[in-house]
């Protein structure tokens, strides 16, 4: 697959990018080389491979274990009109 300047002009306009006329041939060259790399990628079947989500094994960092102002369910629910366990209860809105 190889792109000419006219195709690049059309792609640029579809992508809403203003490219100067004299830059089209060089841009076509760059586009063709990235298409070459994409073709090379397509030669390998990766159907069974999961897309990468992280390059190194990441463990979730734990927050520091210290006393906080949290865990005050009783104080927060003290003024609630209704409650169910540690939750606010509200009138049913969907039949």
């Amino acid at each position: 697959m190889s792109l000419d300047a006219a195709t690049v002009r059309r792609i640029a306009s579809l992508a809403r990018i203003a490219v100067a006329e004299e830059e089209l041939p060089r841009l076509a060259g760059e586009l063709n080389s990235i298409l070459g790399w994409i073709e090379q990628l397509n030669e390998v079947n990766v159907d069974a491979v999961a897309p990468m989500t992280g390059a190194v094994a990441l463990a979730l960092p734990m927050r520091e274990d210290r006393v906080t102002d949290g865990a005050q369910a009783e104080a927060i629910l003290a003024n609630a009109p209704d409650r169910a366990g540690e939750y606010f209860a509200v009138p049913k809105v969907v039949e």
């Binding site: 830059e23 994409i38 990628l41 897309p51």
Partner: protein
């Protein structure tokens, strides 16, 4: 004292400072004088922060007098201009950020300042760390201290030039496809691309977040280890930061390297990216040195350099375009031609292709892991030959030529480049050592021992 008998390494300067044979103020003044004398040709600095540097040097001397110690206390460094610095202009070498003054330091900059390092200024790069040397920007591209007609390598181009010319004792660079290690190779210094997650990227202007790494550049592997001791560590505010164990990198350098299993990626430079005869000779000498040090060296194999580059180029191009899409739409003409040519193709990459690249990356990481069960270190040249002439560094075909260095970015392994030799013309050649993830200590140690035996570190660029 405004001149130095010889440019010290960070380790040497730290010893002189500790012995009170040199003050940080003297050292900083001497380097500022060198910048004034040499940088009009080299263009390594976009900004010299003279007054704050002198103030920081005085503060470091006072802290030392008060009993404070530290390997970086009073050491003058400089940072690639994509590292945000509070109150100091940070341009990414771009017209678009010409007036950008961040309010916070990058985490790496903060760590170095807290360790007492002195910032001399901000260093040239390729615009937003991609594209290539550009002559249509407000600042010229950096030039190679070994021959100012030649390219420094990029994109940490000012970092390579400043360290090689002895304008700063160390620098920060960033590496997405080779941007620390290419200038390290072409400028004859040491540069480390760490494992992703080891060094915080918070406050470093991104290029392609799934491949970007931040790391140190300095005259020796030992100096890179000293810098990494301060740079490495978990940063809760960088979601990609890893809470990995940190050995003492500098403290571990002296341990022997006997018995390390070194894999030679011969196919890489004999077949995939054919190297010049002098580069091949440099590799032969390196293998001989490593064998003398008691390492075993055997041929190792990996998928072709092109396979890694297909993944790397598609990811970099797509992600760089995504980073810049909004400004590309509205302010395209303000970017350099080199940037436009390199990043615009990203508009064309479809999600399916981007994900194919990410899938293939999983494969290639697995291939690297399999090879690294048999070896502790993989060895290759950093580039096929020495620095090209700056005028020859054309950006039209740049994207078609694969980089040896991109292998380590895609495979997510740490990689160190040290000076491996010189051409007959006196241009440096870079030797690349890759290690297992988070085993920076091993490649730094091997690089250090190699430098000691190879004995090239007394040779500085002509005229410096």
């Amino acid at each position: 004292m405004n001149t130095l008998a010889a440019i010290p390494t960070i380790a040497e300067a730290a010893r002189l400072l500790a012995a009170r044979k040199l003050s940080s103020l003297e050292l900083t003044r001497a380097l500022l004088a060198r910048i004034e004398a040499l940088d009009p040709v080299l263009n390594a600095f976009l900004l010299v922060t003279e007054k704050p540097a002198l103030a920081a040097a005085r503060a470091a001397d006072r802290a030392r007098a008060a009993g404070q110690k530290g390997a970086l206390l009073g050491i003058p460094l400089a940072y690639k201009d994509i590292y945000e610095t509070a109150g100091v202009r940070t341009t990414a070498h771009s017209r678009l950020l010409a007036q950008n003054v961040p309010t916070q330091d990058a985490e790496t900059v903060r760590r170095l300042s807290a360790a007492g390092a002195v910032m001399l200024g901000k260093l040239a790069t390729h615009e937003f760390a991609i594209g290539g040397p550009a002559f249509d920007l407000p600042w010229p591209p950096a030039r190679n201290p070994w021959d100012p007609h030649r390219f420094t390598g990029g994109s940490s181009s000012g970092s390579g030039a400043a360290v090689a010319a002895g304008l700063a004792l160390g620098a920060l660079g960033s590496d997405t496809g080779g941007s620390i290690r290419l200038p390290a190779a072409y400028c004859g210094i040491a540069g480390l691309k760490p494992t992703p997650g080891l060094v915080s990227r918070r406050g470093v202007i991104p290029l392609a977040p799934s491949l970007d790494t931040a790391g140190p550049m300095a005259w020796t592997a030992e100096d890179c280890a000293i810098l990494l001791d301060v740079l490495a560590g978990h940063d809760p505010a960088d979601p990609a930061s890893v809470a990995a164990p940190r050995p003492g990198y500098a403290a571990g350098l002296a341990a022997p390297v006997r018995g390390l299993r070194v894999g030679l990626l011969r196919r890489f430079y004999e077949h995939d990216v054919p190297a010049t005869p002098e580069t091949r000779q440099m590799m032969q000498q390196a293998v001989a040195v490593l064998r003398d040090l008691g390492c075993t060296v055997e041929d190792a194999s990996l998928p072709a350099v092109q396979e890694f580059n297909a993944v790397g180029r598609v990811i970099i191009c797509a992600e760089a375009y995504a980073q810049h899409e909004a400004t590309i739409r509205t302010r395209l003409s303000e970017y350099s031609r080199a940037f436009r040519m390199r990043v615009l193709p990203g508009a064309l990459i479809r999600a399916a292709e981007y994900l194919a690249a990410q899938r293939r990356r999983t494969d290639l990481i697995a291939a690297m892991r399999a090879t690294m069960t048999r070896f502790d270190v993989l060895l290759a040249p950093a580039t096929a030959g020495p620095a090209p002439l700056l005028a020859e560094q054309r950006t039209d075909e740049g994207f078609a030529v694969p980089f040896l260095t991109t292998v380590a970015n895609v495979a997510a392994v740490p990689s160190l480049v040290v000076c491996g030799g010189f051409t007959a013309q006196g241009l440096p050649l870079g030797l690349e050592m890759m290690g297992r993830p988070f085993e920076e200590a091993t490649i730094l140690r091997l690089g250090h021992h190699f430098e000691q035996v190879r004995g090239l570190r007394s040779r500085r660029p002509p005229g410096s």
